[in-house]
């Protein structure tokens, strides 16, 4: 028997365009699995030549789900390029606004993308979604949809637009907050917090305690013993807006703590011809292919693994409880990403509540125009999905000459590819010829979804092929019959 291919095309309930191709050999075992990012737009190319102060608006459109992460990371990068220290008020407004991004993105992922798998993974694929959830779990589904109203309103106050916001400028933010803004924020944040507590309760009582989630947590195939990287605050606590990068190994030992300015010493990237996304790795270890021993992960689970504490009341307790119930750190089970995400949502809303009482928020001093330009800047932020790095160089007219952006999904790209092989080798029964059950393929997608990949973000590019034909293998759902369809390049 010759080789055959199983496709998940496209991977669904993730953001962006991605596909899985499984190569099965004649002996019914898996030769290779590719998690492929299917498109790129080429930001690192077309950002060259732009006036650098436009980059927060331009790079924000790398990703619509974490647009604020790019917007804020870009602004921080410009602070450094212009050599400006933003006033304390600007920093606080940015940090406060940014917690909203974490909550927004995490809730969206949890509700729309992840939850159907944690509630009814084996249901008909066509109802395995938020709409289907409305029938089975009407309360939680409508709570999740209900959060959108508050999120939208809060984001409007900070960013003007809820998606692709407009407030970051070099050395500060565009406008000051008025007292009525803060009052409105307090009200909205209070309402949102109630919903978030409901969601936390649901997660703890209905998901964590479920057999399904427990079996996922105990499934060795959803486990990778890897390196982890994340930001830590000055007290080594959980932080999103600013901090130092910390790397630990799979035993939890600290490997490095460094400023983003030195990131090129630690990070390098591998590029291949089968994905429009690169594969970052630790420069000192080198690229060793998809071997978990050498792989680095970022994101909610990585953050929980690298920080010493989560410094809010409810969030802090939940953090301790999670670690205890999973047997200590580092936690390697990918399904724990969901849990970490919930903790971060809670932490963020608590931080927002705290910060809204800060009188500094109301100062009119929102931008610093002074500073010695460096014509180069690096900025880092914890995006919802993990470490996000922007790095720009400019000429003396502040026109961009080099742009490098490493997104969290790019960081996790190697891990996703590695884990898929484990999951597929354990769960895919290939002895049945070409027939593969959809619910089994969904087990692969669940592994991918745990990382909440943002494939739009990940899209760097290389395509070395010159063929003018492109083929897609279609596997029919009912019969399992395969058809190879060819497309001509236009």
């Amino acid at each position: 028997m010759s080789k055959r291919y199983i496709l998940i095309d496209p991977v669904t309930r993730v953001e962006g365009e991605a596909r899985v191709v499984i190569v099965v050999n004649g002996k019914n075992s898996i030769d290779e699995i590719y998690y492929e990012i299917l498109s790129t737009r080429g930001f690192e190319s077309f950002c060259i030549g732009r006036a650098v102060e436009e980059l927060p608006r331009i790079t924000s459109t790398i990703c619509g789900v974490c647009s604020w992460a790019h917007h804020v990371a870009s602004g921080k990068t410009l602070d450094k390029l212009f050599g400006r220290e933003p006033p304390i008020t600007a920093k606080k407004i940015r940090e406060l606004a940014y917690y909203m991004q974490i909550i927004d993105s995490h809730l969206l992922h949890f509700g729309v993308m992840a939850l159907p798998d944690l509630v009814f993974p084996e249901t008909d694929p066509l109802t395995r979604n938020i709409i289907g959830l409305l029938k089975v779990e009407p309360k939680i589904a409508s709570t999740i949809l209900g959060t959108r109203r508050y999120i939208k309103q809060i984001e409007k106050i900070f960013g003007g637009k809820p998606i692709h916001a407009a407030f970051m400028i070099p050395g500060g933010v565009t406008r000051s907050l008025k007292e009525e803004d803060v009052e409105k924020l307090k009200e909205q944040v209070g309402e949102l917090k109630k919903l978030i507590i409901d969601i936390l309760d649901f997660f703890k009582n209905r998901i964590v305690k479920s057999e399904l989630y427990q079996s996922l947590l105990n499934d060795e195939s959803y486990m990778l013993k890897t390196y982890y990287m994340g930001l830590i605050g000055s007290g080594r606590e959980l932080t999103f807006y600013d901090g130092k990068l910390k790397i630990i190994d799979s035993e939890g030992r600290e490997i490095a703590v460094f400023n983003v300015d030195d990131y090129t010493e630690y990070i390098a990237e591998y590029m291949s011809n089968w994905s429009y996304s690169k594969f970052p790795y630790l420069r000192k270890l080198g690229w060793h292919g998809f071997d978990e021993k050498y792989i680095l992960r970022v994101g909610p689970l990585a953050r929980i693994n690298v920080v010493d504490k989560v410094p809010t009341e409810i969030g802090g307790n939940e953090y301790k409880e999670m670690i205890e119930s999973l047997g200590g750190k580092p936690i390697h089970n990918t399904m724990a990403y969901h849990w970490a995400r919930i903790i971060e949502i809670v932490y963020s809303i608590e931080r927002m509540e705290e910060m809204l009482d800060d009188p500094d928020l109301l100062s009119k001093d929102t931008v610093n125009l002074e500073g010695e330009p460096r014509y180069e800047g690096m900025g880092v932020i914890e995006a919802p999905r993990g470490v996000l790095i922007h790095h720009y160089k400019s000429d003396e007219h502040f026109i961009a000459t080099h742009v490098n952006i490493i997104t969290p999904t790019t960081f996790n790209n190697a891990a996703i590819n590695t884990e898929l092989k484990k999951v597929a080798r354990k769960h895919l029964d290939l002895t049945n010829g070409d027939r593969v059950e959809y619910k089994v393929l969904n087990k692969l997608e669940m592994s991918i979804r745990a990382y909440d990949p943002c494939n739009s973000c990940a899209a760097h590019v290389i395509d070395l092929s010159t063929s003018d034909e492109f083929k897609v293998l279609i596997i029919e759902k009912e019969t399992g019959r395969k058809r190879l369809v060819k497309y001509k390049v236009v």
Binding site: A51, E54, N273
Partner: protein, 324 residues
Amino acid sequence: MKIAIVYGAICGGCDVAIVNWGEKLIDIAKKYDIVYWNAAVDSKLEDLEKIDHINIGIFMGSIRTDLHVKLAKLLRSKSDIIVAYGACASYGGVPGLATLTRKEKLIKDLASTITTEKIEEEDIPDPAKIPELLKTNYALIQIIDPDIIIPGCPPSSVSNEELAKFLLEYQEGTRLKEKIVFGEENSLCSICPRRPEDLHKIKMPGIYRLYEVKLDENKCFLEQGIICMGPATRAACKAPCIKNNHPCVGCMGPAPGVDDVGLKYISSVASLVMVDKEKEILEEGLAKQLDKIVDPIGVFYKYTLSNSLIAKLAKKSNKRDEKK
């Protein structure tokens, strides 16, 4: 009835804009089956191919690969109504800034970032080959003819309300008499809360870049010497950026009657720069101010380059280079 949401090259912001319907999504889901929507629904490409008829096809994103062309044509062939949703589908969007960058250059730039250390072409089987990039970025409307165009990066809450209303009132089988573009038949200035002293006699006191000055929270941006795309941009939002003290960047696309934003803007803004000091500072002084616009493409065509007249002219002119 059936709705399908299909992607070109996207960022996901349009998806979030749809999710931001919140509870309204429930009403829409009562009337329609959402048969395809990668971000939220588990149907695969083969499922989409099997569906004979779709009532409303919503397309998000620009056209960047051969797969996007295929998906756009597939959706058009099955749908009664096609909605070009968002700036990318409508005008090419931010990815359109790569319209005049050759594909080879684009790839070279991405391969030469500072951290890219190792590049290898792996031996991969044919079915695992990824879609091919097209020569350039296109707006959806350059590939197929949509019935409704909803501009915006992403479409505003006003436009989303309008779309929800359309969907809830839509009767099966109805075709539109003519193409609809969402938004008002006016430029953003018409709804801008910042009122210049005399809308027809705005003076720009020079040109300042966004990093140079502290922005006044109430004054017309043009009167502060800040480039604001409002005059050439369709009013299809409630000026949220301006209310947040950030000039308009033109994401709603050309104002009614304008088909090339940059040319329109050059004609109009040029008249405003130092209009009262021309005879003192002369050509030299004016040139010095205009040189502050260091990147006309990035400022004037941030969302609309793909389908612009200037890009068409450049393509005609640059053909020889492409053959080289």
